[in-house]
Each structure stands twice: as structure tokens, then as C-alpha cells.
């Protein structure tokens, strides 16, 4: 008879194999979870879990923010607001080594302020920026790597769906988490810029220079066309911080603002609205299926003693706060290799949060570090959700190329992570102004 721990560990291994064989990620998780729970606890328990869990999650107010933020981002993308942002960034940054990649990087940062999810950010910017870079003969690994990596900013720069879920689990203020993510997000974008510039400066073949034939007036005009996105962000952040609306409600306001601005600009044709709605619905459904899988997997993990056993080991070895953060961080990085971000979040938080609370660790600060782990997990093999998402819109680029491209940014991420752990004020300075 296998121990529950062994069933849990084998289950994770099988799941990784199934995902590698191109099972739907949601299916791979759900299948392993269903079989695993049946082995550990019997079919009756599995049936209850299937009856209760997927419906219960669709039925939650916190998760309602997800489709609304996707709608806001999709309208912003479909009506050309994100394109104008990327265009301005491209025109202003073309003098720089790897200028288009830097532009894509900041385009992602800008888009992150509209989107609550990394996958949405990577996919949207991937559609705009990657073809541009390939057209100017940029190295495909660099072109895809930068978007896959900078797309992870979607969860660090507010709004952020994982932050909403973290706030829910850790019982901390989502508004404070949102504001805490701003500096770390910008810091990441600047470190990425450093990586791109240095790499392209050392090896110009990676990014051939782009002819700069636009005049100054054109550049200023391009900059002037970028206003809609900041305005939408103002609506979202503003309604939250003035207490006018909760995060879920602010998402609805953001969506309405995006539609209103696009209408004002004359870009809200019926076709745009129709495509935005269908795309939002399709993306929401795709995320939801993964979430069903992740939640079922979380229930499977709760039955197997895998997380408790790991937590036990951590408690035995981790004494002071920094050691605790580092040791658990290592676990999150390893788990992040295999789990999608929502899965990691749902799996790890119920187990580890009590330990952090016991150790009196600032949960806003840790929240930001945790979001960073999620960002890293999005680009690490074998399961890098952002990379899969990017791959899904770039059928001709081999997945290995994208993984190769993000390797440099992975190193940069570890550097930023060290800064965030070493200097808590990067995360806590802005929230401290709110009080």
C-alpha cells in the first residue's frame, strides 16, 4: 500500500508527463487529482469534490473580477489602445541597442496596467510586438523571450488576479497589494531593459538597428495618442483608492471606461465589441478549465500529505525570517516549475501562510515576493504557462526557442527577487504612504 505522500508525489510526476504529452493542462491536473483522490479517499469523496468544487469556484465574487479585467484589457487591445502605446515606445526607443525589444518590454509594462493576468499580457503583446521584431530580423529567441518574460509583469503591476486571490487567502488589503506591486514591477522592467541593452550591445546580431525615419513631430504625435490606457488605469485605481468601488466593481468600471473611450475615439465598431466579448469569454473559459484542474489538484494535495510534509521540513529547518523566506522560496520556485500560477497559489498559501503569520512576517511584503515567485514560475520549464500561451499564438516558433530566450530574463528575475527580499521598502514604501 502506498503512503498518501507517495501517491501525491507520483501524481505530480504523472501530471507533468501528461502535460508534456499535450494533454489540456486543466485535464492533466483534473485527471491526476480525480484518480489520486479516489486512491486515497475512495470514489464517494471524489464524487462530492466533483459536485461541489468547480461550481463553487465559478460562483465566487472574488473570481468575478477575472473576466471583467480580461474584458477591459481585450477592449483596450482590440480598439488599438495598446498598439498606440507600443508604437510610441518603438518610435522613442529605436536609438537604443535592442530598441524594439525594450519597447516590447515597456509595452508589456503598460499593458500590465490594463490586464490582470500574465497570460493575457503575453498573448496581447505577443500579437503586436513579436511580428514587428521578427520583421526587423531580431533573434527569435530574444523577440519571444522578452515578451514571455515581460508578460509576467501582468501579475505584478496592478490590477492583478493572483493578488486578488492572495489578498483573499492572506486576509490582507487587495488595494495595498496593488499599490505595493508598482515599484517592484517597474524595477523588473528596468532590470529587463538592462539585460536587453547589454546583450544587444555585446552581440549586435541579436537586434539589427531599425532605420529611424520618423521626424520629431510624428514622435510627439505618437506619444499624444497613448492617453487612453493611462486614463483607464486611473479609473480602475481611482475607484479602488477613493473607496468608490471594490476591486471586482472597479474591474466593471474599467471595462465600461475602455468601451466608453473606444467609442469616443470612434473605434468601437460592432465588430470590435463582438470580437472583444468572444475573446474575453473564450479566455475566461480557458482559464476556468485550468482553474478547475488546479483546484481539484489542490484538494488532492490536501488529502495527500505532500504540502504538510514539506511544511514540516521547513518548520524544522527554517528558524529566522530570512531563512524561512529563502527555504520556502526554493520550494515555491521548484513547485512553480510544475504548477500554473493559480495552482501554485492555491496549493501553497493554505499550507505556508500560517507559518509566515507565526513568524510575524509582513504579509504585504511577502505577498509581493510571492507574486515574484509566480512570475518566475510562469517562465520556467517544464510548465511555463506564459511560454505556452505565447507559443499558442506563434505556431511557427519552436517552444525550445522561447525557453532559450527567457533564460537570460530568468537570471534577471533572481536578481530582482534578491533585491525584493533584501530591501522590503521597495515593496512597502508606497503602501506606507496610503495610511
Amino acid at each position: 500500500m502506498l503512503s498518501n505522500f507517495a501517491v501525491g508525489a507520483i501524481g505530480i510526476a504523472v501530471m507533468v508527463g501528461l502535460i508534456g504529452l499535450r494533454f489540456h493542462i486543466g485535464l492533466a491536473m483534473a485527471l491526476v487529482a480525480t484518480v489520486g483522490i479516489t486512491i486515497i479517499a475512495g470514489p464517494r469523496v471524489t464524487y462530492t469534490v466533483l459536485q461541489v468544487v468547480p461550481y463553487e469556484f465559478a460562483n465566487s465574487w472574488e473570481f468575478s473580477a477575472v473576466p471583467l479585467f480580461i474584458l477591459m484589457g481585450t477592449v483596450a487591445y482590440r480598439s488599438g489602445m495598446t498598439t498606440s502605446l507600443f508604437r510610441a515606445a518603438r518610435l522613442w526607443l529605436s536609438w537604443m541597442p535592442g530598441g524594439l525589444a525594450v519597447a516590447a518590454n515597456f509595452g508589456c509594462a503598460g499593458f500590465s496596467a490594463a490586464a490582470g493576468s500574465s497570460v493575457v499580457t503575453a498573448v496581447s503583446m505577443g500579437r503586436i510586438a513579436v511580428p514587428e521584431m521578427l520583421r526587423f530580423r531580431y533573434d527569435p529567441a530574444l523577440a519571444t523571450g522578452v515578451v514571455a518574460a515581460a508578460g509576467t509583469l501582468g501579475v505584478m503591476i496592478p490590477p492583478s488576479i493572483p493578488m486578488i486571490l492572495y489578498g483573499y487567502f492572506a486576509e490582507v488589503s487587495v488595494a495595498q497589494l496593488f499599490i505595493a506591486g508598482v515599484l517592484p514591477g517597474l524595477l523588473t522592467a528596468f532590470v529587463y531593459t538592462g539585460v536587453i541593452v547589454v546583450r544587444c550591445w555585446l552581440n549586435p546580431d541579436l537586434a539589427p538597428p531599425v532605420p529611424d525615419d520618423t521626424d520629431r513631430r510624428e514622435k510627439w504625435r505618437a506619444l499624444g495618442e497613448t492617453w487612453p490606457l493611462p486614463l483607464i488605469i486611473l479609473v480602475v485605481i481611482g475607484t479602488i483608492y477613493t473607496g468608490f468601488a471594490s476591486p471586482t466593481e472597479s474591474a466593471a468600471f474599467g471595462a465600461v471606461a475602455a468601451v466608453a473611450i473606444a467609442t469616443f475615439q470612434g473605434k468601437m465598431q460592432w465588430a470590435v465589441l463582438r470580437k472583444s466579448l468572444l475573446e474575453t469569454i473564450e479566455t475566461s473559459a480557458a482559464i476556468f478549465f485550468v482553474v478547475i484542474g488546479a483546484i481539484l489538484l489542490t484538494r488532492f494535495m490536501a488529502f495527500s500529505d505532500l504540502p504538510e510534509t514539506i511544511a514540516q521540513i521547513v518548520i524544522e529547518y527554517g528558524v529566522d525570517k530570512i531563512t524561512l523566506i529563502l527555504v520556502t522560496g526554493l520550494i515555491f520556485l521548484v513547485l512553480g516549475c510544475f504548477l500554473d500560477p493559480i495552482g501554485l497559489l492555491l496549493l501553497a498559501l493554505p499550507v505556508f501562510l500560517p507559518i509566515y503569520i507565526a513568524a510575524d512576517i509582513n504579509l504585504i511584503w511577502f505577498g509581493i515576493i510571492f507574486i515574484k515567485y509566480i512570475e518566475i514560475g510562469l517562465i520556467t520549464p517544464p510548465i511555463g504557462v506564459n511560454i505556452f500561451a505565447l507559443k499558442s499564438i506563434l505556431p511557427n516558433v519552436p517552444i525550445q526557442t522561447i525557453f532559450r530566450g527567457v533564460a537570460w530574463f530568468f537570471v534577471a528575475e533572481l536578481f530582482v527577487l534578491a533585491l525584493l527580499i533584501g530591501f522590503p521598502s521597495i515593496s512597502l514604501f508606497l503602501p506606507s504612504l496610503m495610511r
Binding site: 502535460i19 494533454f23 466533483l50 465559478a58 460562483n59 468600471f253 473564450e282 480557458a286
Partner: protein
């Protein structure tokens, strides 16, 4: 013969999936407007729309998450990864796809079955919630979820069958372009 039959069923099933997806789009729009209206009513007129949270989550969100699952599948939108897959020989890829769609159909059938049992039960007890003066029926929302999962199951079964038809594998591989 088999091919014509499968194509016919597929045509009908995909139309149906698209139809309930339109319902999901409507739910998304109505949810957005309902939430915004509630905030305005409660902020400016001090009279919130009673039951907004419950209606949004029980009806709009359940619709918009469950109903388009089938449509997303028929468009190949569910998230997948092909780490070791692409370099494999055709026969192996075919087999792996067969296993994938068989297990998808299997899992979804079990899920449909269980969610239907739950929906029947909640209908029989007349599942409801009383919020102050506001009486909200909950059980119909269970059937919305069943409808979405059942449609997803049917699409999965059709895709499994279509693998048996010559050229079916290539059709499956083709990711649909923008709507």
C-alpha cells in the same frame, strides 16, 4: 458514411456550443452593467440593487464560465503544452491524441454525471436563499453549469470520434483563425 455522420453531428454540436456562448457574452455584458448600476445606485442614491452579489455570482458568472467551455474546445483554445509532442512520429502523435481525447471525454462524462446528480438534488430541495426581503432561487443556476459541461463533453466525444475518420487528425490540429 461514418464521416458524413460525424460531420453532421459535429456541425450541430458546434452550432449549439456557439449559441450558448452568445448567452455567456450576454451574461458578461449584463454583469458589467449590473455591477456598475449597483455602485451608482448605492453611492449616489443610497439604495443599492438588492442581491447584486448573489445574482452576479450565481447566474452571470456561472453562465460565463461554464457555457463557453465547449466553444473554447471547438476552437482549440484550451491551454496545452507540447514539450515532447511535436517531434514524435505521426502514429505516436495519433495515439497520444486518442488517449487525450478519450480521457477528456471520460473525465467530462463523470463530471457531467455528478453535476447532474447535484442539480437534480438541488432542484428537488428547491435550493434558494433569502436575503432580507429578497428571495433568490439558486437551483436553476446548477442546470446552467450542467448545460455547459454537457456541451463540452459532447464536443470532446465528437473530437475523439473524428480521430477515426481519414484526415480527422489534421482537422483537429488546425487551430481556428479569428472569429
Amino acid at each position: 458514411m461514418l464521416k458524413t455522420a460525424i460531420n453532421g453531428i459535429q456541425f450541430i454540436a458546434e452550432r449549439f456550443a456557439a449559441l450558448i456562448t452568445v448567452a455567456a457574452c450576454v451574461a458578461l455584458v449584463v454583469a458589467t452593467l449590473h455591477i456598475v448600476a449597483d455602485v451608482f445606485m448605492s453611492r449616489f442614491f443610497r439604495s443599492p440593487i438588492i442581491g447584486t452579489h448573489d445574482i452576479v455570482t450565481t447566474y452571470y458568472m456561472v453562465s460565463l464560465f461554464f457555457l463557453p467551455l465547449a466553444y473554447a474546445e471547438s476552437r482549440g483554445a484550451h491551454i496545452k503544452a507540447d514539450l515532447f509532442f511535436t517531434p514524435l512520429p505521426f502514429a505516436v502523435r495519433w495515439c497520444v491524441s486518442m488517449v487525450t481525447y478519450l480521457s477528456l471525454s471520460g473525465f467530462l462524462s463523470v463530471l457531467t454525471w455528478q453535476m447532474t446528480l447535484r442539480a437534480i438534488r438541488q432542484t428537488n430541495i428547491g435550493d434558494m436563499r433569502l436575503i432580507g426581503d429578497f428571495y433568490l432561487l439558486l437551483w436553476p443556476s446548477r442546470w446552467l453549469a450542467v448545460l455547459g459541461i454537457a456541451a463540452f463533453t459532447i464536443i470532446a466525444v465528437i473530437r475523439t470520434l473524428s480521430l477515426l475518420v481519414p484526415g480527422g487528425y489534421d482537422n483537429l490540429e488546425r487551430r481556428h483563425d479569428d472569429a
